[in-house]
């Protein structure tokens, strides 16, 4: 029994080694079509309905964007994301009953404890900007997930950059 297992294991091992060599360097995956950028000004609706819509639910509003992204080991809100955070600050100051939970996340390139600290710092960076923009302390809760709740789990930058983010959740 044991011998059999060993030989199976060895066979697997050798097969894995053998089969690995001739394999072409992983065929470059086709570039995913660029995601449609929602920056373009939305066409004006012909006749705005008179019903008042919560701007939070407007897919064309900056408020529809709920994440800020970061370079590696950086926790300050990037220029590109500042308008998003400022829009949420304005919304929160105008809607004192609404609350947000800021969730800081990191890629896996650190210790998970360090990343817990970094995720906390990312969430706090967004919080400070919300407060500066008029939101109240009582409207904001921060939490860090560090590297523990990755959106994407491959070991590459395409994945890591999605994981380095703060999510703004109402």
């Amino acid at each position: 029994m044991k011998k059999l297992l060993i030989s199976i294991l060895l066979a697997n091992l050798l097969a894995a080694c053998a089969s690995q060599k001739p394999v072409e360097p992983e065929a470059a995956a086709p570039e995913p079509a660029p995601a449609p950028v929602a920056e373009a000004p939305a066409p004006e609706p012909a006749l705005a309905p008179v019903v008042e819509v919560d701007p939070l639910n407007d897919p064309n509003s900056l408020l529809a964007k709920r994440s800020t992204y970061y370079p590696f080991d950086v926790s300050v809100v990037q220029e590109a994301d500042k308008p998003i955070v400022q829009a949420h600050a304005k919304y929160l100051s105008e809607h004192p009953n609404r609350k947000v939970r800021l969730e800081g996340n990191c890629d896996e390139r650190g210790s998970n404890e360090y990343n817990l600290g970094l995720g906390n710092r990312r969430a706090n960076g967004v919080k400070q900007m919300l407060l500066l923009g008029g939101a109240r302390e009582s409207q904001i809760e921060t939490v860090s997930y560090g590297e523990e709740k990755p959106r994407c789990t491959d070991h590459n930058e395409a994945c890591w950059k999605q994981n380095r983010r703060t999510d703004i959740r109402y």
Partner: protein, 420 residues
């Protein structure tokens, strides 16, 4: 990746031991500088057990990298008087273990074994070890410890335990197992992350981080009663528990005052004292064996590096310099060095640094190698690694020569910590 094995092979043993309900495999790469040739004669009566004690003993000794097994074919002495020393000398053995196993009343077994010095033709040790039938492996580990101690002069660690986190998809289990990965027991099972388990010095409790309440909080759980209590659940994150050697306090990290800072707390949750005031990230504290100092990491210098400070608080001294970042420091049991995770050029290594010389030495080839911790005897270091697209447990000897990879039953094994 797999073919790393081909490059590295000095000696490669594959142990693949099947048990009733589990398959776990261990690969050993490398060999100690001096391997003692030893013959372990089949114990009389051993073959009647569900698993032979001899197999456990041989597995343990081989994993240490410090022993070479001598063929026992055709010879099975039961007592010293039946031993023909010239015969064993001719086979190249320097040590010989012989023994018997007998069933006892109350479903217990007793193994009697003797360790003989083949060169000097003397008895080195003899002992009877008894246990319940369900603890055959424990008997084997005990015998392996005795052989290891007699022949190397260091304390054996085969009877110690480890803890680690097992992740399968979004399901997390906190596991305690024997140091060889067998005898897995689930301490906690949930669909939220579990992090940073830490053994109490007497091995009776684990402190760990759980996200079950939506954010990171620290629990302490008894391994005897399974009862647990919340140690720290303040707003923000509560994490990185580390026990003081006397078990009377823990260092933990909290963000309740802003950034990640280190605090001391008693195991009942009382008497919280903040001991770092950097305003940046200070985390991963680890007590020195004498309880007087803490190693921790901080990015106060710009990148995460290792620092040392008095455990009561006070000025911190930077320990690691140079390129790259460093994480997860742990004192060696003799306090002369510390192990840590070293990151450079996108790879993670297990590294060791001597306090006196300040020299850093890489113990591994690099990859996704994180969270090292010493075995109680300081001779082996366990860490988290990756192979075949799985998180695995790995060990390396403190001289870097012997490496071992342990593939647990399923899922990803993470965050191993060697316990008492």
């Amino acid at each position: 990746m797999l073919c790393v094995i081909e490059r590295l092979v000095v000696t490669l043993f594959l142990l693949h031991v099947a048990t009733a309900n589990a398959e776990l495999s261990i690969e050993i790469i490398g060999a100690g500088e001096n391997q003692t040739p030893i013959a372990i004669v089949p114990f009389e009566g051993d073959e009647k057990l569900s698993q032979t004690i001899r197999e456990v003993v041989i597995g343990d000794l081989l994993r240490s990298g410090l022993f070479r097994m001598i063929d026992t074919e055709g010879r099975s002495p039961r007592s010293p008087s039946e031993v023909s020393y010239p015969d064993w000398q001719a086979r190249g053995a320097e040590a010989l273990a012989i023994g018997t196993v007998a069933a006892q009343p109350n479903r217990r077994i007793e193994a009697r074994f003797r360790l003989l010095d083949v060169v000097k033709q003397t008895e080195l040790a003899g002992q009877a070890v008894s246990a319940s039938e369900g603890q055959i492996r424990a008997v084997g580990h005990r015998i392996a410890d005795l052989i290891y101690e007699k022949l190397t002069g260091d304390k054996g660690v085969f009877s110690t335990r480890i803890t680690y986190v097992n992740r399968e998809g979004k399901h997390y289990r906190l596991v305690v197992a024997d140091s060889d990965g067998y005898n897995e027991q689930t301490v906690l099972s949930q669909n939220q992350p579990i992090m940073s388990p830490a053994w109490s010095p007497d091995g009776s409790h684990l402190a760990y981080v759980s996200f079950e309440t939506g954010h990171a909080v620290v629990y302490i759980q008894s391994l005897y009663t399974n009862q647990r209590k919340l140690l720290a659940g303040y707003s923000g994150t509560n994490s990185a528990p580390a026990w003081s050697p006397d078990g009377k306090q823990l260092a933990i990290v909290m963000t309740r005052d802003g950034s990640s800072q280190i605090y001391l707390i008693r195991p009942d949750g009382s008497d919280i004292r903040r001991i770092t005031f950097s305003g940046v990230i200070d985390t991963e504290p680890n007590f020195s064996p004498d309880g007087q100092s803490l190693l921790f990491i901080s990015d106060r210098g710009g990148s995460p590096q290792i620092y040392r400070m008095p455990a009561k608080g006070g000025a911190a001294e930077r320990m690691t310099f140079g390129e790259g970042a460093n994480f997860s420091p742990r004192y060696s049991p003799d306090s002369r060095s510390f192990v840590f995770t070293h990151r450079i050029s996108g790879k993670f290594y297990i590294a060791m640094q001597d306090f006196q010389t300040g020299q850093m030495e890489l113990l591994t080839e690099g990859g996704w190698e994180k969270k090292p911790s010493f075995a109680p005897n300081g001779k082996l270091i366990m860490f988290a690694s990756e192979a075949r697209e799985r998180g695995i447990l790995a060990t390396v000897s403190s001289d870097g020569r012997v490496k071992q990879r342990m593939f647990t039953l399923s899922g990803d094994a993470r965050e191993p910590v060697w316990g008492p």
